[in-house]
């Protein structure tokens, strides 16, 4: 059987005569094509490699011999399988061996013997093309080659039937691989193969094979019913296979019309059809029709013309400015390309996708870049200040080994500073081969170019990619967003992307912004930049130039801001919350918007300080208008607003009624609030504040400004997350460093003579030296907050500079002179940002909370440790190699002896109860225990705290573990507890405390103690109240209380039982006589006179008592007995009775 499609034989010979002769011999059986040079032949063969049945090549050709040709064929995937026969006038024996060793299929001797030539050629062709029967190693079904060979045979065998070629793909198989891993992806393919074979075996003869990746091909007699059955079978089986993920097949059908089409073309037709249903939720099957074919032809036409168009410069650059959403000003532009062809403008979406497929896009990219550079050069020459322009770059460039060099070449040619050019890559470009891409990006960064990620969120591999690639900015298309972004899923996606970008400190540009709603939404999301018709349309070079010269219109964006959810804003600061919780001061964050104040958060310390059940609502009540005086509120609002501009620390004292549930008194409290303005984001001003109860200090209103460093650090921490931090002393010009910087630059702990010493060390880019000095001059002058970006070497001996954002916050003494400044810095573009963030976070944690002995961040989802920070030598070391349970056990062993706490903590980890807690909404757990320090012998209260938090975007659950000093807290709490036992009016024990004391004593004393219990009240107390008022009644109670305290021993229990009733308990009374004597004496002592402004009167008290001797009477029985005696005494008139 002759191979129908592979029927071309190529003859490559430098001698035309030989070609002619061979052609004569072979043209009856084959289509003959010929070339007189090997390279020329290879070039031409590229066009139709699938038609070639065999190649006959002359051994001796000048420059490029038959062997060279043979080798080249074997290196080309499309020609590898094609048999090559070598023809030569050489003696066959002499060279045959070498030919065969080189991979030649046979040898054709000269002079040609037609029958020999024909025989050998046919033999080789049949051997090659009908030999193919390998199976696909993964799925066991036919390989691509075998499928093609089978189909060719099938076509001949079933010539009279209507044959269909069907392609079957998994829609978005890449995503499947991404979600479940490549191994699982492979398993799915095996499953598909198995399901298909089972299905096809039930019907008539068919061919089936795997074409590559996730594409399978079926050749069978066409029947619509059969194809529908195939689909429903697949859907059913997919559902059985993985019900949690919708595996969607995409089926393309080509019904063979022209049997002379090459089989590859038929396959392409089926696949093109199949592509039509990709990405469409409900379309599974598509048929090839000539429209699709027309599309292909049109694409080919465009491709043919691009070369010419590039040459004729038909591609024209348009510029679209992008706007800062903060300032409303134009800040950079994107270069867009239009094809002006014969007075018609072709938009990029018509030709870019086609060029992308053909790889010609790279040429266009460079064309645009070069024209942008030319335009910028012209601007500079005219004295117009240019803005940075971003140009689009396609993925193919990344595979060009000279890419970075070529770009640098263009920049140099037009003398363009690299910071004026940004490169925009499409996200889909980064799916594979991250190492290669990272390498190219590094080169681009070294040149000084910034890299934007275009169309972020549209592809699949975006999240991991962001961590892996050194990208400087994200561009997101607004397309997802309808008119009401907040209610929509698209809006949620956008906002979560922005939160993530925020976390990574990546600026975001939103493209396609067209209306107010979108601007509102973006402002709210703190998106950095926007681009779209709402701001500016793409404009010609001339209009862009005019805009730069005259200034682009400034947009007033504040008017689009409406009520913003401060909570959401705060949450976008991500893990900063855990910071805040570790600050060693009761603290809260509140926000002001439209003159209304909300509490955003209070920290753990605050909750502890004011009691267990203290809530944010309670705090909110602090300056709720009902509670605060009008004046205080007005002052507070005015000052808080002013603070946004002055950026100074403020304080306010105010009186407030504390809610009852707090342990202490129910009186008015004087609260001192120290607060600072932190940041202004999306229309909300944030403040951090510390609260202090000043009631005890008395002197309300004029207390000196007192501020802790930890508060300042917290403030700084809130402002920046992945940072280096240090102190700067404006008087000595010294910097005291943290460990990190010392290691990076090899400096000691203190660096004198700043900034000169830094500049001398040559880590600052020469051009930035002067701004750097200016920066410190501003600092020394006392500016409250300064911030700037410099090019700084990451290490002392580094060859390149990195963009480094540096900020200082000044701290003032009470005369408002700067005393110290907190400096922070971070690398703006740093691919290890992720790691560093974690590292510095821990760093900060320790700095701002000196009471933390151990802190760890455990990722409960991946069961790994992300960070361990501890000052305890025994626990230090490289945690990276350790499983998180081991570090947990080490910490447990070192700190906790208490068996109960140990068991609790262990079960939290071992039984994964932490996750359960988190799911139930519990994000904070704590366990108190005592630690005995072996070296000092000190016993110390400590607390093991766990903050649970979900990492935005990835959804991993993190446990922040702190083991910290709790001694002070416990003591304070014990103090509070003591306070809680005291009756606030009389200073005696209150009812519960008194009863508790008595009970405790009775319990301890057992049956042995002889003791007495007195109940005392004021006679006619109700009358006193009625006649003289409650205040006087209270006075009488206080007088009685004082008398009682004076008349009993310190060890006796004296308490206010309620109202005017008191309880006294004598421990260790000696005898009944002694008690009786005591009672008589007391009775006398309690005849009292009260002298007040409007009242002067005498009053007496009644006393009842009960004694217990070796009896089993409990407290309540004694009280009942004494009460009964008291009642008896009263009934027997006024006189106290026993």
């Amino acid at each position: 059987m002759q191979n129908r499609k592979r029927n071309t034989v190529w003859i490559v010979d430098d001698c035309q005569l030989n070609i002619d002769i061979l052609t004569r011999i072979l043209q009856r059986d084959y289509r003959i094509k010929a070339a007189t040079g090997g390279l020329d032949a290879l070039e031409q063969m590229k066009k139709t490699p699938t038609e070639i049945a065999a190649i006959i090549v002359d051994l001796h050709m000048p420059g490029f011999s038959g062997f060279d040709f043979l080798k080249a064929c074997k290196e080309r995937a499309s020609l590898k399988e094609v048999p090559v026969l070598i023809s030569s006038a050489e003696d066959q024996l002499r060279i045959e061996k070498r030919c065969l060793e080189s991979g030649a299929s046979d040898f054709i001797p000269m002079p040609y013997e037609p029958s020999v030539v024909r025989y050998r050629l046919r033999n080789v062709i049949e051997r090659t093309w009908f030999r193919v029967n390998e199976n696909d190693p993964l799925t066991g079904v036919s390989s691509k080659e075998k499928y093609i060979a089978d189909t060719e045979r099938y076509q001949i065998e079933y010539q009279e039937k209507k044959i269909s070629i069907v392609s079957l793909d998994i829609d978005n198989f890449k995503a499947y691989n991404y979600f479940f891993g490549v191994e699982e992806g492979d398993r799915l393919l095996q499953y598909v193969a198995q399901v298909m074979v089972e299905f096809l075996d039930q019907g008539d003869k068919y061919c089936f094979g795997r074409y590559g990746a996730d594409c399978f091909l079926i050749t069978c007699e066409y029947s619509e019913e059969r194809i529908t059955q195939m689909l429903s079978n697949l859907l059913e089986r997919f559902n059985v296979y993985n019900a949690s993920y919708r595996i969607k097949p995409a089926i393309g059908v080509y019904i063979i019309e022209d049997p002379d089409w090459p089989i590859e073309m038929m396959i392409n037709a089926a696949r093109m059809a199949g592509n039509q249903c990709k990405g469409k939720f409900h379309q599974y099957i598509a048929y090839y029709d000539s429209l699709i074919g027309d599309e292909v032809i049109r694409e080919q036409e465009i491709l043919n013309e691009v070369e010419q168009a590039l040459y004729r410069e038909e591609f024209v650059i348009y510029y679209q400015p992008k706007y800062s959403l903060l300032s409303g000003q134009a800040d950079g532009a994107e270069a867009l390309v239009r094809w002006e062809r014969q007075n018609r403008i072709i938009m990029p979406n018509e030709f870019i996708p086609i060029l992308e497929k053909s790889m010609q896009i790279g040429q266009l990219d460079f064309y645009v870049l070069e024209h942008v550079c030319m335009d910028i050069q012209a601007l500079i020459a005219q004295g117009i200040r240019p803005m940075p322009v971003s140009t689009n770059m396609s993925l193919v460039n990344l595979y060009n080994p000279n890419y970075a060099k070529q770009i640098q070449g263009i920049l140099l040619r037009y003398n363009i500073p690299p910071e004026l050019i940004n490169l925009e890559f499409t996200e889909s470009a980064f799916v594979e081969n991250t190492d290669l891409i990272r390498g190219v990006m590094r080169q681009l960064h070294e040149i000084g170019l910034r890299i934007f990620l275009d169309d972020f969120g549209k592809g699949t591999a975006s999240l991991t990619m962001l961590y892996q690639l050194p990208v400087d900015l994200l561009k997101i298309d607004m397309m997802l967003l309808p008119d009401h972004p907040e209610q929509d899923r698209g809006g949620k996606i956008l906002s979560s992307i922005m939160q993530m970008a925020n976390m990574l400190k990546l600026p975001v540009v939103c493209e396609g912004v067209e209306n107010e709603q979108q601007v509102k939404f973006l402002r709210k999301m703190q998106c950095d930049y926007a681009q779209g018709f709402f701001f500016a349309k793409p404009m010609s070079k001339e209009r862009y130039e005019a805009g730069l010269k005259d200034g682009f219109p400034v947009m007033a964006l504040e008017k689009y801001d409406d009520c913003i959810n401060a909570e959401m804003q705060w949450n976008s600061l991500g893990w900063v919350e855990s910071f805040f919780n570790s600050v060693d001061t009761p603290m809260m964050v509140f926000a002001m918007q439209d003159d209304i104040f909300h509490v955003v958060r209070i920290n753990q310390k605050m909750q502890k300080f004011y009691g267990r059940d203290f809530t944010e609502e309670d705090i909110e009540n602090f300056y709720n208008s009902d509670r605060l005086s009008k004046e205080t509120r007005a002052r507070f609002e005015a000052e808080a607003k002013a603070a946004i501009h002055s950026k100074t620390a403020l304080q306010i004292d105010f009186s407030v009624t504390m809610p009852k549930r707090i342990f202490r008194k129910e009186d008015n409290l004087w609260i001192r609030m120290n607060y600072r303005y932190v940041e202004y984001r999306g229309g909300v001003a944030f403040y951090s504040a510390t609260l202090k109860d000043m009631t005890a200090e008395g002197n309300h209103g004029s207390i000196k400004n007192e501020k802790t460093y930890s508060e300042d650090f917290a403030k700084t921490a809130l402002k920046m997350s992945n940072v280096n931090a240090w102190y700067y002393d404006p008087h000595t010009h010294e910097i005291s460093f943290e460990v990190e910087l010392t290691r990076d630059y090899g400096w000691g702990e203190v660096l004198p003579n700043v900034p000169d010493s830094i500049i001398e060390s040559e880590i600052v880019h020469p051009e930035d030296e002067e701004p750097f000095r200016e920066f410190y001059r501003r600092l020394d002058a006392g500016e409250p907050f300064i911030e700037s970006v410099f090019r700084i070497k990451p290490e002392l001996n580094a060859n390149s500079y990195e963009l480094c954002r540096m900020a200082y916050t000044n701290i003032y003494d009470r005369n408002n002179h700067p005393v110290r400044a907190i400096g922070v810095s971070m690398h703006v573009a740093n691919e290890e940002k992720n790691v560093l963030t974690a590292y510095r976070e821990g760093h900060f944690q320790r700095m701002i909370s000196p009471d933390v002995y151990f802190m760890a961040i455990m990722n409960l989802t991946t069961m790994s440790l992300e960070l361990v920070q501890t000052g305890i030598e025994e626990l230090e070391g490289d945690f990276h190699d350790k499983p998180h349970m081991e570090v947990f056990e080490d910490a447990l062993d070192f700190f906790v002896r208490d068996l109960h706490v140990r068991a609790e903590l262990r079960s939290l980890w071992a039984e994964r109860r932490l996750e359960k807690n988190f799911e139930e909404g519990k994000t904070y757990l704590e366990y108190e225990f005592r630690k005995d320090w072996k070296d000092t012998g000190k016993r110390q209260w400590m607390v093991w705290q766990i903050f649970l938090q979900k990492r935005p975007v990835t959804g991993e659950i993190l446990a922040y573990v702190y083991i910290r000093d709790n001694d002070k807290d416990i003591r304070e709490r014990q103090g509070l507890q003591k306070a809680a036992r005291i009756d606030s009016m009389t200073g005696l024990l209150n009812h519960n405390a008194a009863v508790e004391e008595v009970e405790n004593y009775l319990l301890q004393a057992g049956e042995n103690g002889f003791c007495a219990l007195f109940m005392i009240d004021i006679d006619y107390f109700k009358q006193i109240n009625d006649e003289h008022g409650h205040l006087i009644g209270d006075e009488a109670i206080i007088m009685l209380a004082k008398k009682l305290r004076k008349n009993f021993r310190q060890s006796d229990v004296v308490g206010r039982y309620g109202g005017d009733e008191f309880i006294v308990f004598m421990r260790n009374a000696e005898s009944l006589e002694q008690v009786r004597e005591k009672m008589i004496g007391l009775k006398k002592a309690l005849n009292m006179h009260l002298e007040a402004e409007q009242a002067s009167f005498d009053f007496t008290c009644s006393i009842g008592y009960a004694v217990r001797a070796k009896q089993e009477a409990d407290c309540h029985e004694m009280i009942e007995a004494a009460d009964a005696a008291l009642y008896e005494a009263k009934r027997n008139r006024i006189q106290g009775t026993l």
């Binding site: 035309q16 002359d58 000269m110 002079p111 037609p114």
Partner: protein, 113 residues
């Protein structure tokens, strides 16, 4: 049989083999014959020999060998083979003489055109 092929046969050429190769197409054979007589390899061989370039000389001789063999011009082929083998071994000695003999022989064949 055409006049050309008859003549060649009398000069000792393998006309049976050659015509078999040319599928008995005498006209096509005649076309090729004319081409062979003016094949540039003859001149290139001369230049290579003059320049002492053994490799190039071998290549040219080898090309001629193939072409002439295909044409079945046995007497001419014998001279070419005499050139090819020493050149393959890298020898230039006496090659000019043999080339002269080749050209002299070619003259006879050219006369037939």
């Amino acid at each position: 049989m055409s006049k050309l092929t008859e003549e060649l046969r009398t000069m000792g050429c393998d006309m049976d083999g050659a015509l078999n190769r040319f599928l008995q197409d005498e006209e096509f054979y005649a076309e090729c014959y004319a081409q062979v007589m003016s094949d540039p390899s003859f001149d290139q061989l001369k230049s290579a020999l003059d320049a002492g370039d053994v490799e190039e000389a071998f290549h040219c001789a080898h090309t001629l060998k193939g072409v002439i063999a295909n044409m079945g011009l046995t007497p001419l082929l014998n001279i070419v083979v005499d050139l090819v083998e020493p050149l393959r071994a890298g020898k230039l000695d006496g090659m000019q003489e043999k080339y002269a003999a080749l050209l002299a022989e070619r003259k006879k064949y050219e006369a037939l055109l």
